[in-house]
Structures are given as structure tokens and as C-alpha cells.
Amino acid sequence: MDKIKMTANVIRQDEIAYEIYSLVISAKEIADRAKPGQFVNLFSADGSRLLPRPISICEIDKNNGTIRLVYRVAGAGTKEFSALTSDHTIEVMGPLGNGFTPEGSKAILIGGGIGIPPMLELAKQLDCEKSIVLGFRDEEFLSDEFEPYGKVYKSSDAGNIGVKGTVMDAIKEYGIKGDIIYACGPLPMLRAISDYALSNGIKAQISMEEKMACGIGACLACVCKSKDIDDHSKVNNKRICKEGPVFYAGEVEF
């Protein structure tokens, strides 16, 4: 049994930026099995919202049996989660999907917006030279927590944090080089990174997202177009929750 659904105790929750929350829950069985880049499903306590919310894992503490989730309030479900405090419990299922695969000797970790959190556990676990590139809208979060693990570069849409523009602008501006890219963030960012990686012959692992129902590969809601015929349905659709969420640039088309 490699994944479970369980009731987790909330250890603490803090709003670390506008509508961005850091939630630590006690989930030993999930922490024991989790890898960077995997996600969990959080379940609403309100029966009117029955689909789970997939949330990436930001940090894994195997010693204390906890996981940390950093998420943005995007609707009624995440709004409900944001009110949880240390006397609450929450239903959680995981770990789900395949995480990042360590490789190469000079890594570039790129996180955009709410795609930044999963890069933190990866930064902690990767044992190689690391450049970390973080893209924000106009408010900085989590970036100081990356400092111990590598050189941190920043960009922002508003221009108030680091380079004005995108993470790609930061990579060009600072001449950041590497032999492997790991990235999570909005689709336009992933598209730009894929193009950059493919045209420069650099491997890139990108983390995708899509509306999900089951989170375990059964419902076939969260597919993305793949270059090759997939093993499950023998068409060109990979399941983001099962074969992903991390794919190689060039493996998926979007």
C-alpha cells in the first residue's frame, strides 16, 4: 500500500503572504513515503464540496511525521482550509503522483507563484550545485527559506522584487547555467522553460496541473497530451495525477 487516506491533525497554520497559507499537518504514513514534487489531496469537511483539492508538498519532515503544504486561496474549498487551526483535523490522501527525479550535477530550480512551494523540499534534498530562480507577482514569500540551499535569484511581474519580468528574464539577466532544470509554475512559464530547455539541449523536469477528481489515475480527468502513446489508454494522453505531475520537457505537449 503506497498511498493512504487518513485524518491528520493540524499542527499549525500561518498566512505567509496575501491569501497564501502555510499548513503543517501530522501525517506520518504520508511523510514516510513522500518525495519532493509529489502532492496530496485535501478534502473539504463540507459535503457540498466533494472533490478533493490537490496540493503540492512543500516540506517533508520524516522525523516528526509531518508535511507542510503552502497553497493559495483560490475558491471556497481552499478558503475553508485557510481557517484550520491547531485544534482541527483534516482528511488527507497521499502521497500522490511521481515526484522529481534527482539527476545532473548543476541544477536550476525554478518556481513561479504558487509553483514555488514544491521546489523547497527539492532544494533541501538535491545534493548538487543549485541555482534557485523564484518568480513572483508583486509579493515575496518563502524565498528566505531557500537561501541555505543555493544562490537565489528573483523576478516579479511588478518589478518590485528582483528582475522585472519573468523567471526566464532572470535566467538571461544573471546568465544562470545548469545541466538540469526542475520547474513548477503557471503554464506560460512552463512553456517558456520547455522551449528554452529543448532549444539549448538541457533536460527539464516540469510539474503540470489540471482539474482532477480521483487523484489516483482512475477517472481520466487530468490528462495532458503526450508525444508518445501512453501505456494506460494507448492514445496520446498521460494522466497528470499518475504518470505526472512531473514530466520531461518534450514528453508532453501544451
Binding site: M1, D2, K3, I4, K5, F43, G47, S48, R49, L50, L51, P52, M93, E210, K211, M212, A213, C214, G215, I216, G217, A218, C219, L220, A221, C222, V223, C224, H232, S233, K234, V235, N236, N237, K242
Partner: protein, 300 residues
């Protein structure tokens, strides 16, 4: 206590199965439930060749439910026979294969291919609202339903279950057409066609524009239709539509369903099926019911 039920000569150890499309072929739920505890596993729809399905987004949440327009993505019957049936045969449960197609010959091809496979029942999907051809086109016209039922029945080695659409004026007309054409059982309801608009993006929430609504929100409609059909035909019924608890399943059984399928609830609670089986047993103990058959259609 007896929880065994019989659908067209096939004995289920208990009345609980799953709704096609919510459970794959069971593999993905093997981590969560012992599939051998289920009365039957109903597979995702399978066609003669692989289908790629619809564009994304394919789902959206609705109040107390969800909507989907997956578009019957499936690997085709060859892969299904090589991979999915052998997996299910390792479990002590009955196998219901959901069959989909775009034309009568597609359905017949799949049914013929399954003739010598070790599966117990065929569920013919003539009610999917999310594919342009086939699917619901056969399920909204009594003559078309009669013809496809007859054509499939002529070639099927296993008993056939016709899965009915709720998107009709009078579901008993459809049930009678299937019965007259020789169907062995009926399953109902498939999803209700719906639509959701994403007002932030000013577009449809699901790329297919329309999508099938499921989940607890549709349960009263499903119970009503099961009751109507149970009183209109003699065929055994697999009832479904928003079943999330043992209480829900018992409503369907009392309305006239011989077996009950759990669908959307699997997404909210992957342990739903086995919890419902346990809950039914508890209800029978508490209410001194020795045989579940005494509850089937007990509400007149």
C-alpha cells in the same frame, strides 16, 4: 444473514458494485479497498479501438456533486482483454464490462470479442452524454434502443445490462423497449446533462460545454427513476446516482434495485464501497433482516 443477490443468473456476494468510469478497472483502487469484498466490479467503458476522449478541462465541481465530460477515453478491447481482465480475475468478485461504441457494429465487435473472455456481465453504455456519436443517441429513442439491444443480445454470450439515460421524458418507455428487445437487466441512471459557466474566464467550465452531472445532488432523481422502472418492468435493476453511504444504497434497494453502484463517492472517499457494504450489514442486524432480498422493492 444473506446479502447475496442475483442479477440475470449471476450471483453477487453482496449488492454493491461501482459505477462505470469512476473506478477504472479497479487497479487504482486496489491500494484502498479489497476488491474481493465487492459484489462486482464494473469497468470503465471499453470500445473496439482506443479512444482519446475529450479536451480538458474534463470535470468541474457542482454543489453536492460534480460534472464530467471525459469522453470515454479507453485503451480499446485488445489491451483491455490482455491487461484488465487478467487483473480482475485475481480477485474474488464478479466482472461487469461496460461496452461503448459509436455505431451498432462497434458495440457488436466488442461484445463478440468478449464472448470467450471470463467476464460475467456486459453493461451496454447507450447513455453517455459526452460523446458526439453513439452513446446517448441510442439511449434517447425507444426504437434505437430496441434495435441496439436486439443486435447486441444476438451476439452476446454473457447476460446484457442496458444502461439507461435519465435525459429522457419518460424513462419507463426506454426500460420497456430494452426489456422487449431481450435485455437481461437494466442499470440506471447515467449522468444528467448539465452546464457550468466559469464567470471569471467567461467560458464553459468544462471544455465539452455540456457535461454529465453526478453525485449526491442527483440522488433523489435517481431513486425516483429506479422506483418507476422497477414498477414498469420485470428486469433486475442496478441502481446508481449519488450513492455515498449505506443509507443511500438502502434507499435504492427499497425503491426496487437489486444491486447498487457507487460512483462519484469513490473520489471523495476511496473506501466508500466497503464502508457501504458494512453499513448495509449493520442495518440488517439492527433491523433483524435475515435476507437482503426482503428489502428489494419493499417500498410500494
Amino acid at each position: 444473514m444473506n446479502t447475496k443477490v442475483n442479477i440475470a443468473g449471476v450471483e453477487f456476494k453482496n449488492p454493491i458494485t461501482v459505477a462505470s468510469g469512476t473506478f477504472g478497472s479497479g487497479m487504482e483502487y486496489d491500494d484502498f479497498v479489497d476488491l474481493s469484498l465487492l459484489g462486482a466490479v464494473t469497468t470503465k467503458g471499453v470500445a473496439n479501438i482506443p479512444w482519446a476522449g475529450n479536451p480538458t478541462p474534463r470535470i468541474a465541481e457542482t454543489y453536492g456533486g460534480m460534472m464530467n465530460a471525459i469522453g470515454l477515453q479507453n485503451p480499446g478491447i485488445d489491451t483491455f482483454c490482455e491487461r484488465d481482465i487478467p487483473f480482475l480475475k485475481t480477485k474474488d468478485t464478479k466482472i461487469i464490462v461496460n461496452v461503448c461504441g459509436k455505431s451498432e457494429s462497434d458495440y457488436v465487435e466488442v461484445v463478440e470479442r468478449l464472448a470467450d473472455e471470463p467476464v460475467d456481465l456486459l453493461e451496454i453504455n447507450v447513455s453517455c452524454p459526452n460523446v458526439k456519436e453513439g452513446g446517448i443517441a441510442f439511449g434517447q429513442d425507444p426504437k434505437a434502443l430496441y434495435d441496439i439491444t436486439k443486435a447486441v443480445k444476438a451476439k452476446a454470450k454473457q447476460p446484457i445490462i442496458m444502461k439507461l439515460s435519465p435525459n429522457v421524458t419518460d424513462i419507463t418507455v426506454m426500460a420497456k423497449a430494452a426489456e422487449e428487445a431481450g435485455a437481461d437487466a437494466l442499470s440506471l441512471i447515467n449522468t444528467l446533462t448539465g452546464m457550468k459557466i466559469d464567470i471569471k474566464k467567461r467560458t464553459f467550465a468544462v471544455a465539452n460545454k455540456t457535461a454529465g452531472v453526478s453525485g449526491p445532488a442527483i440522488k433523489p432523481i435517481a431513486v425516483r427513476m429506479v422506483y418507476q422502472v422497477a414498477n414498469a418492468v420485470k428486469l433486475p435493476i442496478i441502481g446508481m446516482g449519488g450513492v455515498a453511504t449505506a443509507e443511500d444504497a438502502l434507499e435504492f434497494i427499497m425503491a426496487g434495485a437489486t444491486a447498487v453502484a457507487v460512483g462519484t463517492a469513490n473520489f471523495h472517499n476511496p473506501y466508500a464501497t466497503t464502508e457501504i457494504i458494512k453499513g448495509i450489514e449493520n442495518y440488517m442486524t439492527e433491523n433483524k433482516i435475515d435476507d437482503i432480498k426482503d428489502l428489494i422493492g419493499c417500498v410500494k
